[in-house]
Symmetry: C2
Subunit: 235 residues, 2 copies
DNA sequence: GAGTGGTCTAGACCACTTT
DNA sequence: AAGTGGTCTAGACCACTCG
């Protein structure tokens, strides 16, 4: 009669409730203590079920804030000229973003300096920020820019997007030259910046952007929430 | 004196032992029961530590077989003409692969048929297999091929690689036309094919390969072990 | 301040792998 | 047959969030 009270059965019930839209009022799931009662499993077991559903992109976590019904995946073409903002709108999503820090620095990882063609000790810009869809943060980024190529970039950027700044202020059309995808887990600044749970899988996307002369002018390192995105590239 | 006996401390100790190469004889870690004693933590706690280290690519699991010291990440360019075999050798790794099934089928997902230009009810080939580095399986794949474009592909393939078959037998040079990266978790056939633990994060790579006339002749769906790979693309 | 998520303990049983 | 990994129970404490 009663089911086997295992992770699998808990998952199925939760899945049902999610599909049917019941129980899950608004967007937040009931607390774990309520759920363990509703599902007839213990806390650690429930946790497994929730973690599995997280992996299947049905739900997601905000650190210390609980579990939420997942939003659709974002279809992202990192090589496209289309900005995050525009792509989001095209997919019927509400984009937003913020900057956590904008610094003029004189040091960075050696390979960053080399790629940007910045001499040891010379200035470059480091900008950290996040991007969100429907008010849910989906990526954190660190961006490096050659200060010689784009003087006063920080001031010019304001609250606008990178693409806008490049085109409007420096009249440069940039294109993606190189891409890297590395499966990792959230930790450190990416974790804080996005409000992610440490240890949760994530994808690090590294992007070199170049100008018309094929000179690398910007390096982006983005950390995406594992379940919130899907990448595609046309060649 | 004794540390706080938390996940973090267990991780640090394990990390130490891994770095120094002690405790870890051969390639397999001691059993979980031994480790809980050595580290002074309980099983579920140890498990958290191990899972974290798995996420950081220091160790990996074989289903029901235990924990192993991780191998280096494979640097994989999915758009390159270079075959898996060749790329592996260039990175000083020992590649191997196997086929789990080779079928002539008359049905597949509608979008697969459409992309390959196979009419409803017509034949296509479905080939499932795996790839390994240093005798550790790192990906599982399902490949679909238009039977009209490459008659008798299954027979011609033998135990060789796809690239070899296309070039030698059909004298076609193929190139990657489209790529998709989707973070998922292991389940179903991919899980079995690779000996992965269900629920473990993985990356699904979808690849359309086309001939000189830009006609799609092959669709690859690969499921990669999360921690064993890093992708890059030059544009 | 109550409630909640994150973490941890100290056991247990089963299915599978290995010896 | 013994050992091991996978799973589950029934508690507990702490740090943080939220009302």
């Amino acid at each position: 009669m009663e089911n086997t009270s295992t992770v699998e059965s808990a998952k199925q019930k939760l899945n049902d409730w999610l599909d049917k839209g019941i129980i899950v009022s608004g967007n937040k799931l009931p607390s774990e203590r309520e759920l363990e009662e509703l599902l007839g499993v213990k806390r650690m077991t429930l946790r497994q079920a929730l973690l599995h559903l997280e992996g299947e992109s049905k739900i997601f976590r905000k650190d210390r804030r609980g579990w939420f019904v997942a939003l659709p995946r974002f279809n992202y073409n990192p090589s496209s000229a289309t900005s995050f903002k525009q792509a989001a709108i095209e997919q019927g999503r509400l984009p937003s973003w913020g900057y956590l820090s904008k610094e003029r620095v004189h040091a960075a990882a050696p390979n960053i300096l080399a790629l940007l063609g910045v001499k040891e000790g010379d200035a470059l810009y480091k900008i950290c920020g996040w991007g969100a869809l429907d008010n849910h943060k989906v990526f954190y980024h660190e961006t490096f820019i050659n200060a010689q190529v784009a003087p006063d970039f920080i001031e010019q950027l304001g609250e606008g997007s990178f693409a806008e700044a490049w085109e409007t202020i420096y009249s440069k059309k940039t294109h993606t030259k190189h891409l890297e995808f590395k499966p990792t887990r959230f930790s450190g600044s990416a974790c804080k910046g996005i409000g992610g749970t440490p240890g949760t899988p994530s994808i690090r996307v590294k992007k070199y952007r170049a100008d018309e002369a094929d000179k690398i002018v910007q390096i982006d390192i983005e950390y995406w929430r594992f379940e919130s995105v899907e990448f595609f590239i046309d060649l």
